[in-house]
């Protein structure tokens, strides 16, 4: 190998990893570097001992992070996600998983249940029309109204008379006025079907999400969502990185970039072909040689300040169904003793296995002492997705915030943790025991306006929007946009590579060879 690459990618978060796989599969020579000793960056899956190390490192610069409890036995058998999320069964992310072949590296199962806590009690959110008809919680009239709304939301609502002029009104308001839905039903639809993060979110983007999730239901089963094994996103990021490596990508983990500079062509010792001139040089800890590349693609957080202002920041148009981008997310990761189960409030639909993967939604204002403006999501994981050893469970609590909070994550989330521990019944009616818990504030790099005159080949990837249902789809959309920008900055010079093609395909058709079928394969 020489040290010249087409692309160097810094950071192994989901967006960067998908992009690296796509670039590598498109035939570009990729080096992928992460200063962390693990894959996945802010979406990593960590074992519990790795999580404790992560907390300790973070405490050096973030005093507000708090951690309680001792490391339990079998700490390495946990896969804790730093970016817990579910995967919509239809959408850009799952399409990328399948088209790239990465779905075969991982295991997935349906999200067990979606439950909403409102009016002081837990209710299952119907996953299908049949569920609605079987529900005892709603009157017949209300069922008719809900059904009418669902038909509307699943259809071509863009030009409907119902929506006309209402696109920007708050969804809750729209549901009351236009579909005459009760407060409880409207809140369930807003927060547990449209997954709005904040009060007064606009109707149109929320309708886009509802339609997408209604369509997703039934593809693999009743739930619209899948969950990944071993912590989900972090594991999947590893899968995309493997896909890149299989195509020749070089992986360097656990070493920081010590210097990064743009290359002045005049200073090169051996100027080669003019089309092949590197634009950037980087030095990596412990590597004697400099690495060169023509395109440098970095997560914004890993770019040194002066480069950040020179980079082309990827900002694709995802506003059509995007929830507002939060300023930060208050997070809690808690490990509990005893399996996570919830009592059913509707008749058992015949599911043989009680899933330990569920999503519990607290709408704004639903919990005394909780947030009045943000919806809080609680995701659970356990042995069902091989995320915890037998008999243990993991709770992820997240609260998106639109502005800087004066309170710590612990102050914001402690009431929710207490409530959840009471809601999940333990054996002999005792409260579930907490093994360990971590509270922290995840701040997101704001998408500042990039320069009007960016350095050619320097691309900055914003941090992933940490939305439970929509985050991974956004990751795929941003990754595709990043891939296209990188490919066009590289192909500008190598015209022959894609002669006649207007655009490089994001995922080329999987070759038989890659799928490894057949016994007479070439190595």
């Amino acid at each position: 190998m020489d040290n010249h690459f087409d692309v160097i990618v810094l950071g192994t978060g989901l967006i960067e990893s998908i992009t690296a796989a796509a670039l590598s599969k498109a035939g570009f020579k990729v080096a992928h570097i992460d200063p962390n000793p693990y894959y996945g960056a802010d979406e990593a899956s960590l074992s519990l001992d790795e999580l404790v190390q992560w907390v300790n490192r973070r405490q050096e610069h973030d005093r507000s992070i708090t951690h309680y409890g001792e490391l339990p036995p079998h700490a390495r058998q946990y896969s804790v996600s730093l970016g817990p999320s579910v995967i919509p069964s239809i959408g850009p992310f799952i399409s990328s998983l399948i088209a790239s072949g990465v779905s075969r590296y991982g295991s997935f199962k349906l999200l067990g249940r979606v439950v909403i806590y409102d009016g002081g009690m837990l209710k299952d959110v119907p996953q299908s029309k049949d569920d609605i008809f079987q529900s005892k919680a709603m009157s017949l009239l209300e069922k008719r109204r809900v059904t009418r709304f669902l038909m509307f939301a699943a259809g071509d609502f863009e030009n409907s008379k119902e929506l006309h002029g209402q696109e920007n009104s708050p969804l809750l308001d729209f549901l009351h006025r236009i579909f005459l839905l009760s407060e409880a039903t409207a809140r369930a639809i807003t927060y547990a079907l449209g997954y709005c993060s904040f009060i007064a979110e606009k109707t149109l983007p929320a309708l886009h999400r509802i339609r997408a999730y209604l369509k997703a239901s039934g593809r693999y089963g009743p739930s619209s969502f899948l969950v990944g094994y071993h912590g989900g996103s972090g594991e999947i990021a590893q899968g995309f990185c493997r896909a890149a490596a299989v195509r020749g990508g070089v992986y360097i983990l656990g070493r920081s970039v010590t210097s990064l500079s743009s290359v002045d062509p005049a200073e090169l010792e051996n100027p080669v072909l003019t089309s092949d001139l590197p634009r950037f040089a980087i030095e990596v800890d412990d590597l004697p040689d400099r690495l060169h590349c023509r395109c440098l693609l970095s997560s914004t957080s890993l770019l040194p300040g002066h480069f950040r202002t020179l980079a082309d920041v990827i900002r694709p148009s995802i506003s059509s169904y995007g929830s507002p981008r939060p300023f930060a997310v208050a997070r809690c990761i808690a490990v509990v003793d005893g399996p996570i189960t919830l009592p059913w409030d509707i008749e058992d639909s015949g599911t043989s296995e009680v899933s330990d993967s569920l999503l519990l939604v607290f709408p704004p204002g639903s919990l005394h002492g909780g947030s009045a403006t943000s919806a809080v999501h609680v995701m659970t994981a356990g042995p069902g997705t091989m995320s915890a050893p037998s008999g243990k469970g993991i709770l992820y609590i997240s609260m998106p915030l639109l502005t800087n909070s004066v309170h710590s994550a612990e102050i914001l989330l402690r009431p929710y943790l207490t409530a959840v521990l009471l809601l999940f019944p333990a054996e002999q009616q005792q409260q579930k025991t907490l093994i360990c818990s971590t509270f922290y504030m995840q701040e997101l790099n704001s998408c500042t306006a990039s320069t009007s005159d960016p350095l050619v080949g320097l691309l900055a990837v914003p941090s992933l929007t940490p939305h439970t249902t929509q985050g991974v789809d956004e990751a795929a959309i941003v990754a595709e946009a990043t891939f296209r920008k990188a490919a066009s900055s590289l192909n500008r010079e190598i015209k022959e590579m894609n002669q006649g093609c207007e655009q490089t395909v994001f995922w080329p058709v999987l070759a038989e060879m890659e799928e490894g079928e057949g016994d007479d394969m070439h190595w």
């Binding site: 190998m1 040290n3 894959y39 074992s47 390495r76 058998q77 799952i94 998983l97 399948i98 072949g101 779905s103 075969r104 590296y105 991982g106 295991s107 997935f108 199962k109 349906l110 593809r219 693999y220 089963g221 899948l226 094994y229 071993h230 594991e235 590893q238 899968g239 990185c241 493997r242 896909a243 490596a245 299989v246 195509r247 020749g248 070089v250 992986y251 360097i252 983990l253 656990g254 070493r255 412990d286 590597l287 004697p288 040689d289 296995e353 042995p383 069902g384 091989m386 050893p389 037998s390 060879m513 890659e514 799928e515 490894g516 057949g518 016994d519 007479d520 394969m521 070439h522 190595w523």
Partner: protein
């Protein structure tokens, strides 16, 4: 036994087998020998296949090995845990002419025993044994194809100092067979010395692993799950309701024949 010709065997059990070991010990070459009965001198560092499959017939049962190669990610110690997490078998390879590669192999065994499926069957393979056999020793002055491979790789991997390969043929072996055998016995591993170049010991690794794989356990834990999902035989051992993401895409892919 490596039955490449057999067409459709419905009762085959899929086994995920991962290769581990230091860069340039010949992991890919061992598999290439097993799957295609080939040996390529000057083999490029691994590029290309996500995994290879090879059926293996053993008395009344048929195993379908899904063999995962590291894709070079071990080079900067960047192998993802996802790679070996659900493996039912592992072949940990070292190079008999390089003592440090056995140390690396030992650390991989440790990692597997901590992190992987508890029923995993691990085989330790001391490769490049052709280099230390009498015929090879007598012609030791000409660098063998495999050590060229190593040199290739050294240039490909800045930061990793190339092995100080002994120039004198007599001193080529750095790992005595007895030492590795004793370690393997102590750690509960299958043990072989192999040569991907001559084929010695290669088929035996996969046959012995096949004999040791707890097939009933794998069948029990995949029942009801999608056959294609790489990760059977987990900790829980219970029935898994995995979703095969490709099921709705193409019926053909689901049949897993």
């Amino acid at each position: 036994m490596a039955d490449a010709a057999s067409g459709s065997v419905d009762r085959s059990v899929q086994v995920k087998l991962v290769l581990l070991g230091e860069a340039a010990v010949g992991k890919s070459s061992v598999v290439l020998r097993f799957v295609s009965n080939e040996f390529q001198a000057n083999k490029e560092p691994t590029i290309g296949a996500a995994f290879l499959t090879q059926k293996c017939r053993l008395e009344d049962r048929v195993l379908r090995y899904e063999i995962w190669d590291t894709a070079g990610q071990e080079r900067f110690h960047s192998l993802a845990p996802m790679y070996y997490r659900n493996a039912q078998a592992a072949v940990v390879v070292y190079d008999v002419t390089k003592a440090t590669s056995l140390e690396k192999a030992k650390s991989w065994v440790k990692e597997l025993q901590r992190q992987a499926n508890p029923n995993i069957v691990i085989a330790l393979a001391g490769n490049k044994v052709d280099l230390v056999q009498t015929s090879a020793v007598s012609s030791g002055s000409t660098p063998s194809s495999e050590s060229e491979d190593e040199a290739d790789d050294a240039t490909a991997t800045p930061g990793e100092s190339p092995s100080a390969s002994g120039d004198e043929p007599e001193s080529l072996r750095q790992v005595p067979r007895e030492e590795a055998q004793a370690y393997a016995t102590e750690a509960g591993l299958l043990f072989f010395e192999t040569s991907a170049k001559t084929g010695e010991g290669v088929v035996e690794i996969f046959t012995e692993i096949a004999k040791k794989i707890p097939i009933e356990h794998i069948l029990a834990s995949t029942r009801g799950g999608a056959g294609r999902s790489g990760g059977a035989g987990g900790r829980t051992g219970g029935a898994r309701e995995d979703v095969n993401l490709e099921e709705q895409q193409s019926k053909k892919d689901g049949c897993n024949c």
